[in-house]
């Protein structure tokens, strides 16, 4: 399975600011995803990061709030814009390997917004 790293691993931010989270994979992968996991809850898909085109966002998530880049097959970024305390969460990237139904996750970025 792919090895996935995320930066930063955690951050504390002030409301109104923005944070960009990086996801790096050690091999080329077709699909990359960004999830949010709020305290005590399961994973919610934010968007699918498409290489060479705009990300595909899930209901309730918009590009202005969560802009995503995918410049190549091994790297993606998620920006959390104009943050509020409600954005405090763990943000995870994931990738698919050979089986499209199976996803592998990065270690996550723990974000606290004050």
């Amino acid at each position: 399975s792919a090895v996935i790293s995320q930066k930063p691993s955690r951050d504390i931010c002030q409301r109104g600011t923005s944070l960009t989270i990086q996801c790096q994979v050690d091999s080329q992968v077709t699909m990359m995803f960004w999830y949010r996991q709020q305290p005590g809850q399961s994973l919610t898909l934010i968007a699918t990061a498409n290489q060479g085109s705009e990300a595909t966002y899930e209901s309730g998530f918009v590009i202005d709030k969560f802009p995503i880049s995918r410049p190549n097959l091994t790297f993606s970024t998620l920006t959390v814009s104009n943050m509020s305390p409600e954005d405090s969460s763990i943000y995870l990237c994931s990738v698919t390997d050979r089986l499209p139904e199976t996803q592998y996750f990065g270690p996550g970025t723990r974000l606290l917004v004050l």
Partner: protein, 108 residues
């Protein structure tokens, strides 16, 4: 109705016990099921992957799918303190859909 439902627990059992973790799903068309394990402050890791009905065994772990009742289970034999984690079931509906996760603690 949620596509995948899971008892959030928490569940505490003594070391060495057999653990049973369960999920139900709503759509009989679902055929692939996964179990993920998530340690505290870590991302989920794929534990087991099953297709259709029946059992799949991997060491101390057994995944079971009962399509007639739309019920999936994960059994852990000879449970160890290192098994303490949150376990999430998942199935690829229109997108990969997760249960809420069951927090498991194995007491030494």
């Amino acid at each position: 109705q949620k596509e995948v439902e899971q008892d959030p627990g928490p569940l505490s059992v003594p070391e060495g016990a057999i653990v049973s973790l369960n999920c139900t799903y709503s759509n009989s068309a679902f055929q692939y099921f996964m179990w993920y394990r998530q340690y505290s402050r870590k991302g989920p890791e794929l534990l087991m992957y099953t297709y259709s009905s029946g059992n799949k065994e991997d060491g101390r772990f057994t995944a079971q799918v009962d399509k007639s009742s739309k019920y999936i289970s994960l059994f852990i034999r000879d449970s160890q303190p290192s098994d303490s984690a949150t376990y999430l079931c998942a199935t690829p509906a229109e997108k990969l859909t997760f249960g809420t996760g069951t927090r498991l603690t194995i007491i030494p």
